[in-house]
Symmetry: C2
Subunit: 322 residues, 2 copies
């Protein structure tokens, strides 16, 4: 199995390091955070603060490098990759894919890069919050672009599968638009609802019940984490935010003019049931030969229909789709 | 203890009938729904479909009449009250208070009316969905206006306390604005989010995680129930909807211009924690003498600060407030 070098040992990077080690891989990590490095060493892991040395070792051993730093730190680490391991196998775990893909093309263009995004996390952060089982049962998006080298794609997908996730093959643009829709917009609506509710003071708190609690739950997430993911996905988030504003404005207009909210409420009811139906739809087995010329199209067709890869058998990806 | 006559034997009315009987009161009910009446009789309750007879009996026995019909049916039942029990003790359990208060003043002005709203419910409806413990631990708003007769208020509060709820004394306008904020707006935001998410198809369903599930949970509520409460509270809901639109529009503008969402996200985080703080604040005991001239102000000051009445001792209401 391919060696793994993780740069950044917070919640996600620290969990990748532990999960890959548990899967039987040789792993090492480095981080700018002396605190995370020390905590990792205290847990018996091969970890330090010398990012350059870790990358040089990755180049020597042809390891897979996992960038697990916040989006704002990606450019800096890519500079180190370009200097110390310019042609290395490279992936990342950042929550937006378009901006990272652009940065790799700009800063470390020779790296054999395929992006990734494990859809797992907790409200906590840092090495101590991580766990080798964080990715068990989670979706892990692995990027497919027109120019993706599927041998590299296979390396990244294999790591995701090794740590217990299933793989969703997806282009950066489709990923970023979809997370704007189902993750970033929910965080912004929760923030707006919490602010409107809080304006009602202690009386609002006394009358708030299930609908308010559910609708504001993620508003308690650390603001810097929410800012990083939403602001980092600005380009894809703006049109989704406009969709939501349009629908809420239409509800306002209809309530003010005719007094009716039927269209808004019915669309929400239908939408909620449609999402549930997609989730519970019967799925059929699919095989994608990664060496075939149409393999990229096969992977994208699978991912864009909500399908997933669950195993690799040599050069064949085994999956399921509704 | 005062006899109780419940008109409407769905989820809430049926639960009031059962809970009041369990508390040891003599109870009877009537409903337009032959199905609910039959189900109530099958459970051994004194129930039928002759609303006029039930109201005449209430007038004879000076019972407390509880209107437990949807807002759209309130005017019709108030007409029957005006004909058959014009001066009866009267309350209701409708989710909006201003429109019902107006209707009582217009249609049954001689009724000794104080409005109510038990903050309890389930996604189900009808007699069979009800339970004698539905109100255990719930908040029950009991209306206080400038002209409220506190002897009537005491009768309504006593029923709420008897069935296990605590009482929040509140004017109709404050009630309607606050439920718009913490209940009706959450339903509309959940509907918008579910519609935007569903537009992303099976891929969105595959990537949707906790934030989307929490944010859309109430979008699965029966559309006619959500319409009834939101459309019925139009006047109070419009300005709250404008607040939400203003905040979401400000987020959109900031993201488009500077790329920053700090203000939106921090306000949501602070709001969410402020609501939690109000909920867990230490509370001191309060006594309001219902026979004192300033009793109405005392009750309103308590309710508007998120306080509650937990018992009645003769003419004194015992409560707590932060």
């Amino acid at each position: 199995m391919r060696d793994v070098c993780v740069i950044g040992l917070g919640l996600i990077g620290g969990s990748v390091l532990r999960a890959a080690a548990t899967a039987g891989r040789r792993v090492w990590g480095a981080t700018d955070s002396a605190e995370d490095a020390e905590a990792a060493r205290a847990d018996g892991c091969d970890a330090g603060t010398d990012v350059a040395a870790a990358l040089r070792r990755a180049a020597e051993r042809d390891a897979l490098v996992v960038l697990a730093v916040p989006l704002t730190a990606v450019d800096g680490v890519l500079g180190a990759v370009a200097r110390h391991a310019p042609e290395v196998l490279l992936t990342d775990v950042t929550g937006v894919k378009g901006p990272v893909l652009d940065a790799v093309r700009r800063i470390a263009p020779a790296a054999r890069y395929v992006g990734g995004h494990p859809m797992a996390g907790t409200a906590k952060s840092g090495w101590t919050a991580g766990s080798p089982t964080l990715f068990a049962g989670a979706a892990w998006v692995v990027g497919v672009e027109r120019d993706t080298d599927l041998a590299v794609w296979r390396e990244v997908a294999a790591l995701a599968l090794d740590v217990g996730a299933h793989v969703i093959p997806l282009g950066a643009a489709a990923h970023d638009e979809t997370v704007a829709r189902v993750s970033h917009l929910p965080h912004l609506l929760a923030a707006v609802l919490a602010a409107v509710g809080a304006y009602g003071g202690p009386l609002a708190a006394a009358l708030a019940a299930g609908s308010f609690r559910d609708g504001t739950r993620v508003a308690g997430t650390r603001p810097d984490l929410v800012r990083a993911m939403t602001e980092g996905n600005r380009e894809a988030l703006l049109p989704v935010l406009d969709e939501a504003l349009g629908k809420l404005g239409a509800a306002r207009g209809s309530l003010a003019s005719t007094g009716g909210l039927a269209a808004t409420i019915q669309a929400g009811y239908d939408g909620s049931h449609a999402v549930d139906r997609h989730r519970s739809a019967a799925r059929a087995g699919v095989r994608v030969d990664l060496t075939a010329p149409e393999a990229r199209d096969g992977l994208l067709a699978l991912g864009e229909r909500g399908g997933r890869i669950t195993a690799l058998e040599g050069g064949v990806a085994i999956g399921e789709v509704a």
